[in-house]
Symmetry: C2
């Protein structure tokens, strides 16, 4: 029998070279094998041939490591995704902006370092009369009322006015990923004065796995410098696809009108350096201010369906994103996708008078009391395996259960059905 | 009719004085009333008499604010709890330290600014032979093997060795709140060089409500400077009692042996400035390194029951806290209490060799694969309304369902039953 310590005193390369000439490693003590296996893995030298040699030893501890670390046919250890190194092709991303203000000059110039490499879809609020002003130097397509009439027809139950105009951009995009930010947001700066790249962070969130089935107390385990905490089941460490990334807001946060009216001085200045997966079967108030999603996975589930009677042009006068957010979360839970919340932040400037908005938003406040128990109890048809089918399931339940509570829900259900029809029509005409 | 703007141009005090002479406010326009109401509330001048006057107007918007803000019989608006101003009496708090090292001098001196106002319970690992060294200047009670034998008897299924010795401190404490930190933790410093007061932060977490039924994307809504995000249902904004606060770790984080063995350079340097409620029905790996809890609410649910065959004196060789954590989380969900995770952080120094521990901990890694689905599916008896009854419920299911998988579970179930018996006996003898 070989002298095992000499194997360990060698470099990993030499050890692997020796290893390749060993037809049967079984005589080696288990702890020597384990140590060599870990060194090989850490050095990124674990290829398929070497992995097979280790598996062939049949040693419990080595097999347990292989199983626990989810090593199947990989060549190198899993590299955690990092916001600085994501490798999604720029062609797979659309940035969708709802233009509620005609002059986008300062907005787009602020975001130029982040947005300029990407294709932009700008959708003009159909209530806006003025011409849009868009600075040079962007790859941009603008959509207006005439495009909506052409694609949707004027008799639709779906209205692309105010914040809801962005959804037209979601509809006509042909990209895998959508990033969408309200036009009253400005970039947050890094400590070195550079602009925080929200696209990179959102795409990192979407392309690294989500962990909805067990909470990791150190937040996103795939982030550089983080991992799964002791006790986290190994079988859940490979995670699931992430379908939706919800960013946050500094300065004027996304509070409702009553909260802002009561605490007019309230500003969010706390930067929380975290991304986390919102656990399965936990509902959340999805804000449309700063989001990204995988259009192929859940595109049909982001729609403008719930419109308040007094809906206005301030965020706190809208509920369309909250409603769609409840739907998309339930759908992600049903389909086994994850939803993340946290980074990236944007900065929001003050506008509007919350006390003036208070009246308009009470309707929304009251509706939520009906909406939340409904979605908490909702179970979708197990045979629905695509987002569009799930939307139809939900629309039916909304009509049956909530329709009698308030007519706004009946209209929302009808809009959801129309949306899926439209989504399929646009998809088949563009493909 | 009075001239309403003149009412608003007055100070709140004068306006309230006028208000007290108005027997019927109804003729005033609704937006004037609403504005005055908000001003009154913000100024902390809303007393019961004034509230009744506003209610008597019968105006929809005013009533909606009163309902939405959960104003019942309060005198002043709810002040969010802040870590700097908590008002729990020091007599209600015990700090419990498991002594795994004989010389606690540097540990206690490091923590002196934080711990010195409190009563300390130090429990000596019953395997340790050396005398404990405890510096002067603390209000401390030390418990050793002879105390355990006296209280528990030597034939018990509960073994207070290694990290499990702390639970003896939980048992003999007579305080409402327990804070417990491992003896290899040191304080984190604030930016100004002062020591982070983990007791203040834990108690702030425990004494402000938890929100397990809906996720708030801006984390703890009761924290100073934060609030509930738009779309958060008002009926859930009063929250529930918080029973457990789980702090985190900088430097050597609470990773398992395989993770540390694979990534020996892995250190946690990311300070995440957040506290959040772990949502209902979401399981988590509870770490015993840095925790606090409300002993009156869930004391009987923190116990040393699951002991690995190869359990050692390093954290990554233990599972007792993870197991107890699954139990206490399920119990909190059943009883409607909240569990928080996040701040405060402690710093952990390096010790132990993860590769050496790897072998011992595989047992724990494998057990978790059985444990998680069991707890995810577990439903407690609706008639169990106290933590001790819930523990008995769980013990029965563990024995019935997991007992056949591995004898370690049968022993855990027996220890849980013994623990409840012991908890009741100690409680009745001390009261």
């Amino acid at each position: 029998m070989r002298n095992p310590p000499s194997l360990l005193s060698l470099s990993v390369d030499s050890a692997l070279h020796n290893l390749s000439r060993i037809s049967d490693l079984s005589p080696l003590p288990e702890h020597i094998l384990l140590d060599l296996f870990l060194k090989t893995l850490k050095a990124g030298k674990l290829n398929e041939r070497v992995l097979k040699l280790f598996i062939a030893t049949g040693k419990d501890e080595v097999l347990a490591v292989i199983q626990a670390l989810n090593i199947r046919e990989i060549i190198a250890p899993v590299i955690p995704s990092s916001t600085t190194n994501f490798t999604v092709n720029h062609d797979k991303i659309d940035i969708v902006i709802a233009a509620l203000h005609p002059d986008l000059t300062s907005f787009l110039n602020d975001w130029r370092p982040v947005f300029s490499p990407y294709h932009l879809i700008i959708v003009k609020d159909l209530d806006m009369k003025e011409e849009l002003i868009i600075p040079d130097g962007f790859n941009v397509d603008v959509f207006t009322k005439s495009d909506m009439d052409r694609v949707v027809g004027s008799s639709s139950s779906i209205l692309f006015s105010g914040y809801s105009c962005r959804y037209f951009g979601f509809l006509v995009s042909q990209k895998k990923y959508i990033v969408s930010v309200d036009d009253d947001c400005t970039p947050v700066k890094n400590d070195d004065g550079s602009v925080v790249d929200i696209v990179a962070q959102h795409i990192a969130n979407l392309t690294s796995p989500a962990t909805p089935f067990f909470f990791n107390t150190l937040y996103d385990p795939y982030r550089k410098g983080a991992d799964f905490v002791r006790g986290y089941p190994f079988s859940l460490r490979s995670g699931v696809l992430c379908a939706l990334s919800c960013g946050l807001w500094l300065n004027l946060a996304d509070y409702d009108a009553p909260t802002q009216a009561l605490k007019p001085e309230l500003r969010n200045s706390r930067f929380v350096d975290a991304v986390l997966t919102v656990p399965a079967r936990t509902l959340m108030p999805l804000s449309g201010i700063n989001i990204a999603f995988d259009r192929e996975l859940v595109g049909p589930a982001l729609f403008p369906a719930l419109r308040l009677a007094g809906e206005g042009k301030f965020r706190w006068e809208t509920m369309e994103d909250i409603w769609s957010g409840m739907c998309v979360k339930v759908i992600c839970d049903h389909l086994g996708f994850g939803v993340k919340s946290g980074l990236p932040y944007v900065e929001r400037a003050e506008r509007g008078n919350a006390v003036d908005s208070l009246r308009k938003e009470w309707e929304g406040v009251k509706l939520m009391e009906e909406v939340v128990p409904f979605f908490q109890a909702l179970r979708l048809n197990p045979e629905s395996v695509k987002a569009e089918d799930c939307v139809i399931d939900i629309a039916k339940e909304v009509k049956d259960q909530l329709g009698k509570v308030d007519p706004v829900f009946g209209r929302a259900a009808a809009a959801m059905v129309d949306w899926v029809r439209l989504w399929k029509a646009v998809g088949s005409s563009s493909s």
